[in-house]
């Protein structure tokens, strides 16, 4: 579904992604792990089109999209729940979700029902401003907002960041459930053990390069990964 071919991206003269190639197949959860500053967020932003690609290709469903504007990519079926949640604070939960479906022309009542089914607390709090939600609820809202676009590919950036262990489990269980319903997910996480445990495949990113790739379980068992990212 998604293929990156020698993708490079830079902030000014600082190269953040260096010849990154990876693939996400339909129906997979692919985890992208690595330490802080490895380029994980840059990679997702480049796929979404809010950070320009310096060179290389991004193929989505076989077509190059690296020159398309961000809003066109959303319409094509790529939605992202960004790092740090980035909810629209002063707007109500319901308005945040409605904006998630901004690019859809058709009615989206079913999608809303599914999001409320996945995260019932959002339905309960739908009339209050998003900034009054707790961190975990804001994370659910950020994921729900991305789901409202009815994406083919869901990009999740650090969904577990700053959450209590119980909430992390709840969020990751929701990701597993989305996969069971047919969603394709590219998951970026610093919490490598949790991410690799639910992923079909994983990539390890280090200073902007892919240094390891393999099945999720295989990476979890890899001594290098265990030492560098799991602290074992």
């Amino acid at each position: 579904m998604l293929a990156l071919d020698r993708l490079c991206s830079a902030y000014g003269r600082i190269v953040a992604l260096h010849d990154v190639s990876l693939a996400v197949k339909t129906g997979e959860i692919v985890a992208l792990v690595g330490s802080n500053g490895a380029g994980k967020t840059t990679l997702l932003r480049t796929v979404s089109g809010v950070q320009p690609a310096a060179s290389g290709r991004i193929l989505f469903e076989g077509a190059p999209i690296e020159r398309l504007e961000a809003h066109v990519r959303v319409a094509r079926g790529i939605a992202q729940s960004p790092e740090g949640r980035q909810v629209f604070g002063p707007l109500s939960v319901a308005d945040n979700l409605a904006l998630g479906a901004y690019r859809r022309r058709s009615p989206h009542g079913d999608t809303l029902a599914r999001v409320f089914d996945l995260f019932p607390v959002l339905k309960e709090k739908r009339h209050i401003p998003a900034m009054s939600l707790s961190g975990g609820q804001q994370q659910m809202l950020a994921i729900g907002r991305a789901l409202m676009a009815a994406p083919k590919l869901l990009l999740l950036d650090e969904p577990s960041l700053g959450l209590a262990p119980l909430l992390v489990d709840q969020i990751l269980a929701a990701v597993v459930r989305l996969k069971a319903e047919g969603m394709t997910v590219l998951l970026v996480e610093q919490n490598a053990s949790a991410a690799l445990a639910i992923a079909d495949r994983g990539y390890v990113l280090e200073t902007g390069r892919v240094v390891l790739e393999g099945a999720g379980a295989a990476l979890l068992a890899d001594p290098k990964v265990r030492e560098a990212y799991l602290g074992l």
């Binding site: 979404s48 961000a70 319409a75 992202q80 980035q86 909810v87 707007l91 409605a98 690019r103 991305a146």
Partner: protein, 290 residues
């Protein structure tokens, strides 16, 4: 008492216009972080455009509509030609760009129009309405009524329509707005267009009372800016309250102290607000410390 009421009427009338200009500032500031000092020139284009089109024999309502459309086009061009190419520039640079644009618009207005003061006939005659010992011009009712209608329309647009919500979302978090598929460039153009329309409509209704000339935009911009600051830059309700407050203070200053210092009132208020309430009446009480 009658004198007081008289000053309240005139204060609310000009205050309504300042509030509209302040709303224009607020809309553009929220969407783009730009403080658009060409905001007052939209008021001028609305007034002068209507005067000259009406003088050319076009019926007043149509002339007003054409002038408003012209102001919207100027607003969109301002965004497209001056603001958009400087995307990512510092706020100070963007402010200087809008001041430059304002000077340019005044220069062109001198050529297209002239350097004389102009007026329009009042929409519903000049017979004053007696009210509590004071008198109220029918045109004042027009100004206040149109301002109220615009406030309500803008409120409904921002709160109830998906496009309005996208504008507020862009103001709240531009990155997230782009990620849900909002075309931010179009939203910014929309903010400039709507602000220009609001300013021009204010210009049309106020011209029968205050007269207009190619350079009236400067004072409207400064007072509208003061109103927006008093309310707390970025708060639509604050802009309205700030505008009415500046209008009333100006009227009281002119009536009870001296009309010589009428224009100074707004600036004294700005200084007081910056000293004591730097985030304005609606901007919360916390100040960013550096």
């Amino acid at each position: 008492m009658a004198e007081f009421l008289q000053l309240v009427f005139s204060g609310l009338t000009v205050g309504a216009v300042y509030a509209l200009v302040a709303l224009g500032f607020t809309l553009i500031y929220n969407a783009s972080d730009v403080i658009n000092f060409a905001q007052g020139d939209f008021v001028m284009i609305g007034g002068m455009g209507t005067v000259f089109l009406a003088a050319a024999g076009i019926a007043l309502p149509l002339a007003a509509l054409m002038a408003i459309v012209a102001a919207v086009i100027v607003g969109l061009l301002l965004h497209r030609l001056a603001i958009e190419p400087a995307r990512g520039a510092s706020p100070v640079a963007l402010i200087m760009i809008t001041i430059g644009a304002s000077i340019f618009i005044k220069g062109v207005a001198q050529l297209v129009f002239d350097k004389q003061f102009h007026s329009l006939p009042a929409f519903s005659g000049d017979a004053p309405i007696a009210l509590g010992g004071a008198t109220l011009l029918p045109q004042s009712l027009w100004v206040m009524g149109v301002a109220l209608a615009l406030f309500v329309a803008l409120y409904l647009f921002l709160e109830k329509t998906l496009l309005g919500k996208a504008l507020r979302a862009t103001a709240a978090n531009r990155l997230a707005a782009r990620l849900v598929g909002v075309n931010v460039t179009i939203i910014l153009a929309l903010a400039f267009g709507v602000s220009a329309a609001i300013g021009a409509i204010a210009g049309v209704v106020v011209t029968p009372i205050t007269l207009t000339r190619y350079d009236v935009g400067t004072l409207f911009a400064l007072k509208g800016f003061a109103a927006a600051m008093v309310g707390g830059m970025g708060h639509p309700l604050g802009a309205v309250v700030g505008g009415l407050l500046i209008g009333l203070l100006e009227a009281f200053g002119a009536g009870y102290i001296s009309s010589t210092y009428k224009d100074a009132v707004a600036f004294v208020v700005i200084l007081l607000v910056l000293f004591f309430l730097p985030r304005g009446l609606f901007g919360g009480r916390t100040v960013e410390r550096v």
